[in-house]
């Protein structure tokens, strides 16, 4: 009896969660699909109230720039920290300390990161509002996110396999390069892509540091740029006149995130086939 109830409860929760997600996606897609057109995807925003007409092309390109910058600045150190903790750090105290720092960083509200990047990078260092400043703020935000996942991926590598490499007299570096990274490349790529999606969806770290209401597609790291989430926010804030394009913007964001997730999953599956099942 108790077992059945638990099962019923589990199934119900799952159904509710699944239908909520489906509804959310469906709603955005239905509302947004109408405003999707070639022009919407390739033109800059226009209109008496900006964004009411025209497209979101510079915002798409801008978001890709922000995300790529964040991934380079945040992803590389995140993977490096995870490698250090798993393979190089001998002291348990040191490892605990690094993990604590990671936890603290992941606890920082993103608006505070934005403020920090504004006062330190934009003002003190004089980088100005640009892709690089905002990318740095995003990088700090996604660093622990990726680090945790990378560390988990490294822990899944069978220890006998790593030991076998050491037993052949091979160095840690060679072992990591030939065994560890290829073994978890699927998980690593997913972690990076999820981190990228997280960065792409964030608004707060961008507002003061690099994203602007209107700019052409950036051509350098030192130019400000538009970003999809900020553009969406501004469109909604402008009221009902631009609601249609707001949904269109949301649609594009969701598609970008969905597609990258699907690609990551497919890639991870292919790697698994090769590396874990022979």
């Amino acid at each position: 009896m108790k077992g059945k109830l638990t099962k019923l409860w589990a199934v119900c929760s799952m159904l509710i969660a699944a239908s909520l997600i489906l509804f959310l996606f469906g709603y955005v897609f239905v509302q947004g699909a109408g405003s999707i057109s070639w022009e919407f995807l390739t033109q800059p925003p226009r209109g008496a109230v900006l964004g009411m007409e025209g497209g979101i092309f510079p915002a798409i390109v801008g978001s890709l720039w922000f995300t790529a910058t964040a991934l380079v600045l945040g992803g590389i150190p995140a993977v490096a920290v995870a490698l250090y903790l798993e393979f190089y750090c001998r002291s348990k105290k040191m490892a605990a300390f690094v993990r604590l720092v990671m936890q603290c960083i992941s606890g920082i509200p993103s608006i505070v990161l934005g403020l920090f990047a504004y006062s330190f990078l934009v003002k003190s260092l004089g980088w100005g509002r640009c892709v690089l400043s905002a990318g740095a703020a995003l990088a700090i935000m996604i660093l622990p996110f990726i680090e945790v996942r990378a560390e988990k991926a490294f822990q899944e590598v069978p220890p006998q396999m790593i030991q076998a490499s050491y037993h052949l007299g091979c160095s840690r570096f060679y072992t990591i390069q030939k065994i560890v990274l290829p073994y978890c490349s699927g998980e690593l790529v997913s972690a990076l892509i999820l981190g990228g999606c997280y960065a792409m969806g964030a608004t707060a770290p961008l507002i003061f540091t690099g994203a602007v209401a209107y700019a052409a597609s950036p051509t350098s790291l030192f130019a400000p740029a538009m970003a999809l989430p900020l553009h969406l926010y501004l469109l909604v804030a402008q009221g009902s006149t631009s609601l249609k394009t707001a949904y269109g913007t949301a649609f594009v964001m969701m598609v970008l995130i969905l597609v990258s997730n699907v690609l990551a999953t497919l890639y991870a599956r292919r790697r698994h086939k090769k590396w874990r099942n022979g």
């Binding site: 348990k92 396999m161 076998a164 052949l168 007299g169 022979g278």
Partner: protein, 249 residues
């Protein structure tokens, strides 16, 4: 008797808990030395001391002296030592590459780049491990598709690519049936012409069949060691006798 390794007053432990107590032992060249003892007595730990892996482990402590051909292993570079003293661990762990790539993994690291040379090394060592004829048609097949016994022999062949002076084997036959074990035993007897072999085994009958020297360890202490024929025929210590009798039934 020519000595390949000399172990003097070796103590080792994990996280402050001592596992090996004051072990002094000699490993003769080109002979098979079997290490026997009850489960958990420290046999694997001893092997990890011999190839220097234990020093690398967090929380592990090692003291005492281990000489390889008269040279103090503590003073040797870790990766050099591990190359000289190869270890094949308890569970066969081929890399998830092809058989050929498993065989060239080490040599590539040691700096061999030439394709024909790599192929040659692979072939030679696979032959030594008695695996070549079985797999020569399928060197590009994934090593994970081999049988347990073949995987174990592949791992031994892979260890040989490092050109070790000593080959340590941790229960190479524990997961194999009688026939697969017999193949490995036959191979080891052949290999001792070139290599010095230390084998940990649960199987006393196997130790009897293949070993020239035997060391019996109990609770981390070396109870007795010596020539296999002598030790099996007339063990000097009561504990050894009890262990051997216990196994025989």
């Amino acid at each position: 008797m020519e000595k390949r390794m000399t172990i003097q007053n070796l103590c080792a432990g994990y996280d402050g808990k001592q596992v090996l107590h004051n072990i002094s032992l000699e490993i003769p060249s080109n002979k098979i030395t079997a290490i026997i003892g009850p489960s958990g007595c420290g046999k694997s730990t001893l092997l990890h001391c011999l190839n220097g892996m234990l020093r690398q482990e967090t929380g592990a402590s090692v003291s005492g002296e281990i000489l390889l051909d008269g040279q103090d292993t503590a003073a040797m570079q870790e990766d050099q030592l591990r190359r000289q003293v190869g270890l094949v661990s308890q569970t066969p762990s081929p890399f998830p590459f092809s058989i050929l790539e498993n065989m060239t993994y080490g040599p590539r690291y040691y700096g061999v780049r030439n394709k024909t040379q790599l192929q040659q090394i692979a072939e030679e060592k696979l032959r030594l491990a008695g695996l070549y004829d079985e797999v020569k048609e399928q060197l590009h097949k994934s090593a994970l598709k081999l049988s347990g016994g073949q995987q174990q022999r592949l791992c031994i062949a892979r260890a040989l690519t490092a050109e070790p002076r000593v080959l340590l084997l941790d229960e190479p036959c524990s997961a194999l049936d009688v026939q697969a074990s017999a193949v490995i035993e036959e191979m080891l007897t052949r290999l001792k012409q070139t290599y010095t072999i230390v084998i940990v085994t649960h199987n006393i009958v196997q130790a009897r069949r293949i070993s020239d020297y035997v060391a019996f360890i109990k609770d981390g202490r070396l109870v007795e060691w010596g020539e296999a024929a002598c030790l099996f025929a007339s063990p000097q210590q009561e504990e050894t006798r009890a262990f051997l009798d216990g196994i025989y039934g």
